[in-house]
C-alpha cells in the first residue's frame, strides 16, 4: 500500500509547480515564534544536544539517547512471570486459593493436594496466558511499527531504507508523502521551494485540516539528497516532554567561516511522530527525539487493565460468600473446640480416646491450637462456596464468547476484509450494559471525506433530491394518509377531500420517483468528492439559464477562491480531469465541483491562476487570473478572499465564508438572493451539510491601489499587532459584496452510521460527540447523524469574547457558570421539560466547565440533555470528560474512536472501541474491541452485548447457587458429626463435582444461551435496557439465588438424612453407612443442579442437551467405574452402585423426591413470574415462539414501533418529528383549501350544479 503510494507520488512529483506558499499567506500560520529565554540551554531541563547528521556521536554517553524502538508491551521475558503473578494474586479470591493450595500440602487438607492445586494453576495459568497472548499481540504490533521503513542518510548523500527502530538521534531522514514521521523531527527542507510542508495531525489531536510547518530559511538549501553530504549542525534543545505544542531549541549551524551563528527553533519546525506528511512530496529532517522520548509516546498512558462491572460485583458476591465461609468455618471450629474442650469429654466420649493425642486438631489440652487447625481445615473444606471453578469457567466462557463475536459474519466488513475483534475478552458482558457512548467524529462517524452535494445559485437550489428524513416521513405519512382518507370517506363522501388527497399522494410519488432516479444516476457518475446530480447544471445546461453572469461568477469563486493546487492524474489523462490538493478537504470538493461544471482550475504559479472556463458562448477557453492578494481563512474571520485581476484588467474580490459573516458584508445591491439563499441554507444545515456562502465584488483600480498600499504596509509590520492590523485592513476591502449563492458539502458519514445511531438511541443509549474539530463541523455532523435536529433546543456553551480577552480565570468561570445556570433553568422548567435538548460545548468553555468547582453543575446539565456535542476537544480533555462522566453518573460508558487522540478516552471508558479501518493502530491497540466500521456497534451491543450480559449473569448466579448447594451440604454434615470436620463425600466426588459433573452445562449456558434470537434483539432494541438497568445481576437476584441455594441444600440434606436414617433401605435389611448416605445425597445434588440449569436455559441446542444429561450420565458412569476398581483404590466406594444403592428402589425414589422438592420452589417462582409479572423478553418469546400463533403480524409490528424508547435523537425520532410537522402543515393547508373552496364562486356553482343534477 505504502510503496504503491510512493510510486504514484513519484510520478506526480515532476508535474508539480513550485509555489512559495509563504508569499501567498498573509495571516498567522507562519507567525514568527514568540521570544523565549534561551539562556537555559545546557542547564537541567534544557540539556539535550543533537549532533545533526552525525548519529555516531549519540552512540556513547553522555549523548546516548534511547533508540527509536517503541514498546507498548506490559511485560518482557524476564518481568512476565513475577509481574503477571503479582497481578493475579491481587485478586482476593486467588489469594485465598493460594492459601488453600499451600495448606493442602499439609495434613490438614480434607482432599488431595492435587485437586486443590490443579484448578489454581489452571485459573492463574489461563489468565496469565491471556495476558501473555495480549502482550504478544502488542509486541507484534510494536514490531510492525518498529520495522516500518524510512529513508536514512548514510553519508555521501546516499539515502537508504532503514527500519524505524534503528533510527538514532541526529540521523537525517527523508519522509515521503503520506508517510508517518518515524520520530520527532526537525524540518530541514521540503519539496516546496520555501520549505513548508503540510502535516496531518489526526493521530495527535483529531483535527483533520492540515497544518503548515515551515523550516528555517538557513536550512532551505538542503533540498537535495546530495547536499546532505556536507550538512553539519548542532541542536541544543529542551529535554523530552509531553507538551505537543511547545518546543524550545537553538540550531547552531553555519558555514566554515561563521560557525557560531545560532537560530532559534519553534514548534513550527518540529514534525511530531505519528503525524503524517500530506500534500508535500517529501521532506528532509533531523531526528531530535526518538522512541520513548517522543512527544506522542510521552503523551500515551499505560493501558489500565479493565474489569467488567459484573465481575466487580461478582467480587462483592464472593465477599459475601467469603463471609459465609468464615462464618461456618468459625462455627465449625468453635463447635469442635467446645466438644473437645469440655473436661468431662474425654471420659464421656471414650471411644474417641482424645487424651491419646495423635491429632492436634482434637487436643483437649490445647483448645486454641486445635480450634485454629479446625478452622483452617474448615476453610479448605467449605471452599466449595468460593468456586475457583467459577473463575475458570468464566475465563473459558468469555474466551468462547469472544470467539463467537470474532466469527460473526454480520460483523465482518467485506470492504476492509476485517471483522470485529474482541481484544480483551473480559469485558464481553459490559457490552450489554452500556448507557453512554462517547464517540469521536472523524474516522469514526464520518469517513473523513467531503462530497459536494448541493448548491444554491441565484436563489435557486440545485442538486436537491429530498433527504432521507423527508422521504421516510412522507412514506410513513402516505400510509397514515391512506387510513385517514378512508375514515374521511366513510364519514363524509364529499369529493373535495379525495381530490386533495390524490394530489398529495401523487406529489409523493413524484418525489419518490425523483429519489430513485437520482440514486440510479449516482452509480453512473461516481466521482470522488462529487455527489451531485442536477440536469439543470450539468453538461453546460446552466448556459441556458436566465442570469448567466452570476452563474459564471459563482463558478469562478469556486475555481479561484482557494489555496489548492492541481495534481495531474497519471492514470486518467484521457479524460482531462484533474485532481486537487488543498489545505482543507472542502476546498478540494469545490475544485472538483467547479471542474465538473466546466471551470477547471488547471495551473497555479506564484502570481497567477489558470482556469479553463466555459464561455457564455459555450466554448472552452483558458483564462489567466493574476492573483493579487490572498486573505486567508482563519477561525476568527470565518471567511476567505482572493483578489484577482482578470485578463481584461478588471479586479475582482472573490469571497467565501460562513453565512452570517458574508451576509453582514453584503452591499445594498448584493442582497437580491439573500432571502432565498437563507432558506436553502437552513435546509442544507438541517440535513447536516456544511454550508458556505459565495460572494464577489468588483473593485475599481483606484480603490485597489489605495487599499493595496495600506495592506502591504500592514503586512510588513512586525510584532503582535500585525495580525490585528491585517484583519482590519482586510475588513475594509471585504465589503459591499454581491451574494451569489451557497454551496453545501457533505462530510460523508460512514455506511450505516445514521441507522446505527438510530437503533442505539432506541436502545436507550446516549451518544456524546467529542471531536477535535471545529464547532460548525461538529454541529453539521450532529445534524447529519440525527444527533441534532431542527426543533431541538440547543444550548451553546462557549466563552464570550469579552471573558476570553480578559483571560482571567475568574471572569471565565463566572461566564460559563452563568451560561450553565441559564441553560439548566430551561431544562427544569415544567413547560420545556420534555422538549429535546442539545448541548454544544466549545473546547475552551469545556476547559473551564471541567474545573473542579463547576464541573458538577456542568455534568448535571449535560446529562439532562438528549445529545451533547463537544468540539475542539484535546485528547486529554476527551479522557477527562470520559472519566468525569463515568464517575459523576456512574453509568457505563463506551468510547469509540479511531485515532491516537482517542486513546486516552478509549482507555478511560469502561469499554474502549477502536476503529480498525484506518491506518493508525494506536486506537485499536488501546481498545478492548476493534471494529472496522462504526455501524457494527449496533450488533455488537444490541445483540452480542445483550446476550453476553445475560449469559454471564445467569452463569454467575447459577454458579453461586450450585456451589452453595454443594458446599452447605458439607457444612450440615458437620452438625451431625460433632464438627469434627468429617466429609460426607468421597474425595473424588468433590473433585468431580466442579470438574466434570456440573461444569459443561454451565459453560454451554454461558456460551450458547439466547433469550431471543438476534433478529428480535435488533427489532426490539428496548430489550437492551434490561442490561442497562442491570436487572439480571442485581442484588435482589443474587440474594434470591443464594436463598434458593440454601433452601435447596437444606431440602436435599434434611430429606436424605430424615428418610435414610435408622431403618433399612433395602429389602435385605441393610442400613445406610457413610458411603451410602454420601452417594445418595450426592446423586441428589448432581441431579438437582443439572436439572436446575435445565430450568434456567431457554435455548436448547443439542449441545446443551448433551452436556446436561450427559453430566448426569457421567456421574453414574463414574460411579460404576470407581466402584469397579479394586478396594485398594476405591476404598469405601467399592461396588457401591452395583452392590448397594443401585438395586435398592429406595435410592431411586429418594433421589426423585429430593430433586423434585428442591426444584419446586424455583419452578413455582418461575410460574408466578411468567404468569403475573412477565418481563419483556418473556412476552416477546411468547409472541415469537408460542406454539399457537397468538399474535398477528400487526401486533408484532405495532410493538416493534412502540418499543422504541421515546428518544429525542436518531433517524426515527427525526422522522417522527417531521411527520408531526407535516401533519400540522397538511392540516393548515386543508383548512386553507376548504376555506378558499367554500368561499370561491366556482365551488359554489359546482355544488349548485351537482345539486341540480341530482334533482
Amino acid at each position: 500500500m505504502a510503496t504503491q503510494n510512493v510510486e504514484t507520488n513519484k510520478k506526480k512529483k515532476k508535474k508539480k509547480g513550485k509555489v512559495k506558499w509563504s508569499d501567498l499567506y498573509t495571516f498567522s500560520c507562519l507567525r514568527p515564534p514568540p521570544p523565549v529565554n534561551r539562556s537555559d540551554f545546557g542547564h537541567p531541563g534544557f540539556s539535550r544536544v543533537v549532533f545533526c547528521n552525525d548519529s555516531g556521536m549519540h552512540k556513547t554517553k553522555p549523548y546516548k539517547y534511547p533508540t527509536n524502538d517503541v514498546s507498548t508491551t506490559k511485560y518482557n521475558v524476564v518481568t512476565f512471570l513475577p509481574k503477571s503473578l503479582f497481578e493475579q494474586f491481587r485478586r482476593v479470591a486467588n489469594l485465598y486459593f493460594l492459601l488453600v493450595a499451600v495448606l493442602s500440602v499439609t495434613s490438614l487438607a480434607p482432599f488431595s493436594p492435587l485437586s486443590l492445586i490443579a484448578p489454581l494453576v489452571f485459573v492463574v495459568g489461563i489468565s496469565m496466558l491471556k495476558e501473555g497472548v495480549e502482550d504478544w499481540h502488542r509486541f507484534l504490533q510494536d514490531l510492525e511499527v518498529n520495522s516500518r521503513k524510512v529513508k536514512v542518510h548514510i553519508g555521501n548523500g546516499k539515502f537508504v531504507d532503514r527500519s524505524w527502530k534503528v533510527l538514532r538521534v541526529g540521523d537525517v531522514v527523508k519522509v515521503i508523502k503520506n508517510e508517518y514521521f518515524p520520530s520527532d523531527l526537525l524540518l530541514l527542507s521540503s519539496s516546496y521551494e520555501d520549505g513548508v510542508c503540510y502535516v496531518e495531525t489526526m493521530n495527535l489531536d483529531g483535527e483533520t485540516n492540515l497544518k503548515i510547518k515551515r523550516c528555517l530559511e538557513c536550512t532551505l538549501i538542503f533540498d537535495n539528497e546530495q547536499k546532505f553530504d556536507k550538512f553539519k549542525a548542532t541542536i541544543r534543545c529542551e529535554d523530552p516532554n509531553s507538551s505537543l505544542y511547545t518546543f524550545v531549541a537553538n540550531l547552531e549551524f553555519g558555514d566554515e567561516d561563521q560557525l557560531d551563528s545560532s537560530y532559534p527553533l519553534s514548534p513550527s519546525q518540529l514534525l511530531l511522530r505519528d503525524s503524517k506528511l500530506q500534500n508535500t512530496d517529501y521532506v528532509y529532517g533531523v531526528v531530535i527525539f526518538t522512541g520513548r522520548d517522543t512527544k506522542v509516546v510521552r503523551n500515551s498512558m499505560n493501558s489500565p487493565s479493565k474489569r467488567s462491572r459484573v465481575e466487580r460485583k461478582m467480587d462483592h458476591v464472593i465477599y459475601v460468600l467469603f463471609f459465609m465461609l468464615l462464618l461456618i468455618s468459625l462455627i465449625t471450629s468453635i463447635g469442635s473446640v467446645l466438644y473437645t474442650d469440655q473436661p468431662q469429654t474425654t471420659k464421656e466420649w471414650w471411644y474417641l480416646r482424645l487424651l491419646d493425642d495423635t491429632d492436634a486438631s482434637f487436643d483437649p489440652d490445647k483448645p486454641l491450637i486445635s480450634g485454629f487447625l479446625q478452622f483452617l481445615r474448615a476453610l479448605i473444606l467449605y471452599g466449595y462456596l468460593i468456586p475457583i471453578s467459577l473463575y475458570v469457567s468464566i475465563e473459558v466462557v468469555k474466551f468462547l464468547q469472544a470467539m463467537l463475536i470474532n466469527n460473526d459474519l454480520h460483523l465482518f466488513d467485506e470492504m476492509s476484509g476485517k471483522s470485529v475483534e474482541s481484544r480483551t475478552s473480559n469485558l464481553n458482558e459490559e457490552l450489554g450494559q452500556v448507557e453512554m457512548i462517547l464517540s469521536d467524529k472523524t474516522g469514526t462517524l464520518t469517513c473523513n471525506q467531503m462530497e459536494f452535494r448541493k448548491c444554491s445559485i441565484e436563489g435557486i437550489s440545485y442538486g436537491g433530491d429530498v433527504n432521507e428524513i423527508v422521504r421516510a416521513a412522507s412514506q410513513r405519512m402516505n400510509i397514515d394518509i391512506e387510513s385517514y382518507r378512508f375514515n374521511l370517506d366513510g364519514a363524509d363522501s364529499t369529493p373535495r377531500d379525495s381530490i386533495e388527497m390524490v394530489e398529495i399522494s401523487s406529489d409523493q410519488n413524484k418525489i419518490d420517483l425523483n429519489a430513485e432516479k437520482g440514486i440510479q444516476n449516482l452509480g453512473v457518475m461516481a466521482i470522488k468528492g462529487f455527489n451531485f446530480r442536477d440536469d439543470r447544471l450539468m453538461n453546460k445546461m446552466w448556459l441556458h439559464g436566465s442570469n448567466v453572469w452570476d452563474m459564471i461568477m459563482f463558478f469562478r469563486v469556486m475555481a479561484l477562491c482557494h489555496t489548492g493546487i492541481p495534481v495531474e492524474n497519471g492514470e486518467e489523462t484521457s479524460s482531462h480531469k484533474l485532481k486537487y490538493e488543498a489545505e482543507s478537504p472542502e476546498e478540494v470538493t469545490f475544485l472538483i465541483a467547479a471542474q465538473e461544471f466546466g471551470f477547471q482550475f488547471c495551473r497555479r504559479t506564484q502570481s497567477s491562476m489558470f482556469v479553463k472556463e466555459i464561455d457564455p458562448s459555450g466554448f472552452e477557453v483558458e483564462r489567466e487570473y493574476k492573483l493579487l492578494n490572498l486573505l486567508e481563512f482563519s477561525s476568527s474571520r470565518k471567511r476567505m478572499s482572493v483578489i484577482v485581476r482578470d485578463e481584461v484588467g478588471q479586479i475582482f474580490l472573490f469571497c467565501k465564508g460562513a453565512d452570517n459573516i458574508i451576509f453582514d458584508r453584503l452591499g445594498d445591491g448584493g442582497r437580491t438572493y439573500q432571502h432565498a439563499t437563507t432558506i436553502h441554507l437552513a435546509n442544507y444545515a438541517e440535513d447536516g451539510l456544511r454550508t458556505m456562502v459565495f460572494a464577489y465584488r468588483k473593485i475599481e483600480d483606484s480603490e485597489y491601489e489605495k487599499w493595496s498600499s495600506t495592506f502591504t504596509k500592514a503586512k510588513v509590520t512586525i510584532g503582535h499587532e500585525r495580525e490585528e492590523l491585517l484583519e482590519n485592513v482586510s475588513e475594509t476591502i471585504e465589503k459591499d459584496l454581491v451574494l451569489l449563492g451557497a454551496v453545501a458539502v457533505d462530510d460523508k458519514l460512514q455506511d450505516g452510521v445514521a441507522e446505527c445511531i438510530d437503533k442505539l438511541a432506541q436502545a436507550g443509549l446516549k451518544i456524546w460527540l467529542l471531536t477535535g474539530d471545529k464547532k460548525e463541523t461538529a454541529v453539521n455532523i450532529g445534524f447529519a447523524c440525527s444527533l441534532l435536529r431542527h426543533d431541538m433546543k440547543q444550548f451553546h456553551l462557549s466563552l464570550s469574547r469579552d471573558a476570553e480577552s480578559k483571560n482571567q480565570l475568574k471572569a471565565m468561570k463566572d461566564d460559563i457558570l452563568n451560561q450553565i445556570e441559564a441553560s439548566y433553568q430551561v431544562t427544569v422548567n415544567e413547560k420545556t421539560k420534555d422538549d429535546p435538548l442539545a448541548l454544544v460545548v466549545d473546547g475552551k468553555a469545556l476547559e473551564i466547565a471541567l474545573t473542579n468547582d463547576i464541573r458538577d453543575r456542568f455534568l448535571q446539565l449535560a446529562v439532562s440533555c438528549a445529545s451533547v456535542i463537544c468540539c475542539r476537544v484535546s485528547p486529554k480533555q476527551k479522557a477527562l470528560i470520559t472519566r468525569l462522566v463515568k464517575r459523576y453518573t456512574g453509568k457505563m460508558t463506551l468510547a469509540i474512536g479511531d485515532g491516537a487522540n482517542d486513546v486516552g478516552m478509549i482507555q478511560e471508558a469502561d469499554i474502549g472501541i477502536g476503529i480498525s479501518g484506518m491506518e493508525g493502530m494506536q486506537a485499536v491497540m488501546a481498545s478492548d474491541f476493534s471494529m472496522p466500521q462504526f455501524r457494527f456497534l449496533e450488533r455488537l451491543l444490541i445483540v452480542h452485548g445483550h446476550w453476553c450480559y445475560k449469559r454471564i449473569s445467569k452463569m454467575i448466579l447459577y454458579f453461586v447457587y450450585k456451589n452453595i448447594v454443594f458446599g452447605l451440604t458439607l457444612f450440615y454434615y458437620e452438625l451431625y458429626s460433632k464438627f469434627s470436620g468429617d466429609v460426607l463425600y468421597d474425595g473424588w466426588y468433590m473433585v468431580m463435582f466442579n470438574l466434570f459433573l456440573t461444569s459443561l452445562p454451565v459453560i454451554s449456558l454461558g456460551v450458547l444461551e439466547q433469550d431471543v434470537s438476534s433478529d428480535i434483539c435488533l427489532q426490539f432494541p428496548a430489550l437492551y435496557q434490561q442490561g442497562q438497568k442491570g436487572i439480571f445481576f442485581s442484588w435482589k437476584r443474587i440474594i434470591g439465588w443464594m436463598g434458593n441455594g440454601i433452601l435447596t441444600s437444606l431440602a436435599i440434606f434434611i430429606l436424605n438424612v430424615y428418610i435414610l436414617s435408622l431403618s433399612a433401605f433395602r429389602q435385605g435389611g441393610e442400613v445406610v453407612d457413610i458411603s451410602h448416605l454420601g452417594v445418595i445425597t450426592y446423586t441428589a445434588v448432581v441431579w438437582t443442579v443439572n436439572c436446575q440449569i435445565a430450568l434456567i436455559i431457554t435455548h436448547f441446542t443439542w449441545i446443551q442437551h448433551f452436556f446436561i444429561w450427559g453430566s448426569i450420565l457421567c456421574w453414574y458412569i463414574f460411579l460404576l467405574f470407581y466402584g469397579a476398581l479394586p478396594p485398594k483404590y476405591s476404598h469405601r466406594e467399592f461396588g457401591l452402585l452395583v452392590e448397594a444403592v443401585g438395586p435398592a428402589p429406595m435410592y431411586w425414589i429418594v433421589v426423585l423426591f429430593v430433586v423434585v422438592i428442591s426444584l419446586l420452589p424455583y419452578f413455582i417462582y418461575m410460574v408466578i413470574q411468567r404468569s403475573f409479572y412477565p418481563m419483556d423478553d418473556h412476552v416477546i418469546q411468547e409472541m415469537k415462539y408460542g406454539r399457537k400463533i397468538v399474535v398477528d403480524d400487526e401486533t408484532w409490528l405495532r410493538e416493534k414501533q412502540s418499543s422504541r424508547k421515546a428518544t429525542h435523537i436518531g433517524f426515527s425520532a427525526r422522522v417522527d418529528a417531521k411527520i408531526l410537522h407535516l401533519k400540522d402543515q397538511l392540516h393548515k393547508k386543508r383548512m386553507f383549501i376548504i376555506k378558499s373552496i367554500t368561499s370561491s364562486p366556482i365551488r359554489r356553482s359546482i355544488t349548485i350544479s351537482t345539486l341540480e343534477n341530482r334533482d
Binding site: N178, Y351, G417, E571, T1101, I1149
Partner: protein, 376 residues
Amino acid sequence: MRTFAKDAFRGERPWGDTVCDPWFSVHPQITNADMNQELVTNGASKSKRNSKKPEYSRFTQQELPAWKPILTPGWVITSFLAIALLFIPIGLVSLFASMRVVEIVYRYDQDCVPETYRDNVTSYIQNPLTNKTCIKNVTVPKNMEAPIFVYYQLDNFYQNHRRYVKSRSDKQLRNAGDEFSTKGCEPEAKSKAGPIVPCGLIAWSLFNDTYNLLIQDKVLDINKKGIAWKSDTKDKFGSDVYPRNFQAGSLIGGGKLNESVPLSEQEDLIVWMRTAALPTFRKLYGKISSDLKAQDMITVVLENNYNTYSFGGQKKLVLSTTSWIGGKNEFLGIAYLTVGGICLFMALNFILLYIFKPRPLGDPSYLSWNRNTSRQ
C-alpha cells in the same frame, strides 16, 4: 426503505483513488465494470488474500437449531399434573409397603441397669465383674414374616467423628502380610506384643452386647451369618487375616474377637466397621428365619456390656421385617403424597385461573413500554 438507502450508498463508492483514502482504495466496490478495470481485479484479489472472513457454520453464527421451551400455562398445568400423577401412586405404594413392615423397638439401656447402680452407671458398666445379663419380655404386635432382622440401635454415638472414622487400616484388614501397616490407627495401632489386628479405634470399640431370644422358652435362632455386605466379606476383609493382639492392652474398648476365626468371617466386626453416617444408627445383629405371630411374647436375654452410659447414649433392640423399600419408613410415603397433593392443588388452581382469568400468551400489554405509558 433503509436497505434501499444503503444500496444507494453502495453505488456511490466506485472510485479507484489511492491517495487520501486508503480504506476504500484497498477494496474498491465497483458497480460499473468499465471503470478502473485494473484496480478492480487488483483490489478483489487483494481483498481475497487479506480477508479473514469467518467461515460460516451454524455454531459460530449461533444459529444452531434450538428448542425454545416457553413456560406456557399448558406446560405449567402439565408439569404439575405430571408430578402429581407420578407422586401420588408412588406415595401410596411406598406407604403401603411401609405399613406392611412390622417393627419392634425395645430400649433396654436403662432397664438393664440394676437399681443399685442407677446412680453410678459407669462404674457398673466398666466393672468387668458385675453381672450384665438382663432378661426382658417383648410382645409382638403383628404377625411378622421371615426374614426378621435383628438390629441394635445406638444413639448419640458418633461413629462419623473424623478421628474415629479415620482410625482403621483397610490394607491391614485386607491382606495377611500387611499387619504392620497400621498408619492412622493410633492410638490403637500397636501393643507391646506387636501390631494390633484389626487396628484402630473402630475395631477397638466393637459393640459387644449380645442378644438371645426365647419364644415360649424355645430358643429363637438368630443367624449371624450373611449380615455383612458381600463386598466386605469377599474383598475388604481377608479370609487369611486373623485377629492378633486385639484388646490386649490395658484399656479395653469393646468386644473381643476369636483369634482363630479369620476377619472375613467375623461379620459382627465387619458390620461395626461400616461406620454409620449419623449419630443415631442401627446395625444388623442377625436374622431370624422363622415367622412370629402377633401377641407372641419374646423373652430377650441380653448381655448389657457396651458402655453408652458415659455419653448418655441409648441402646435399643430392634426386630423388623422389610419390604421392597426396606424398613419401616412412613415418612417417605407421606411426603410423596403431600407433594403430589400440593402439585395437584397447584394444577387445579392454575386450570381454574386460566379458565376464569386467562392471560393471553404474549400479551403485549405486559411489555414494559406499554406498562410505562399506561401508568402515565
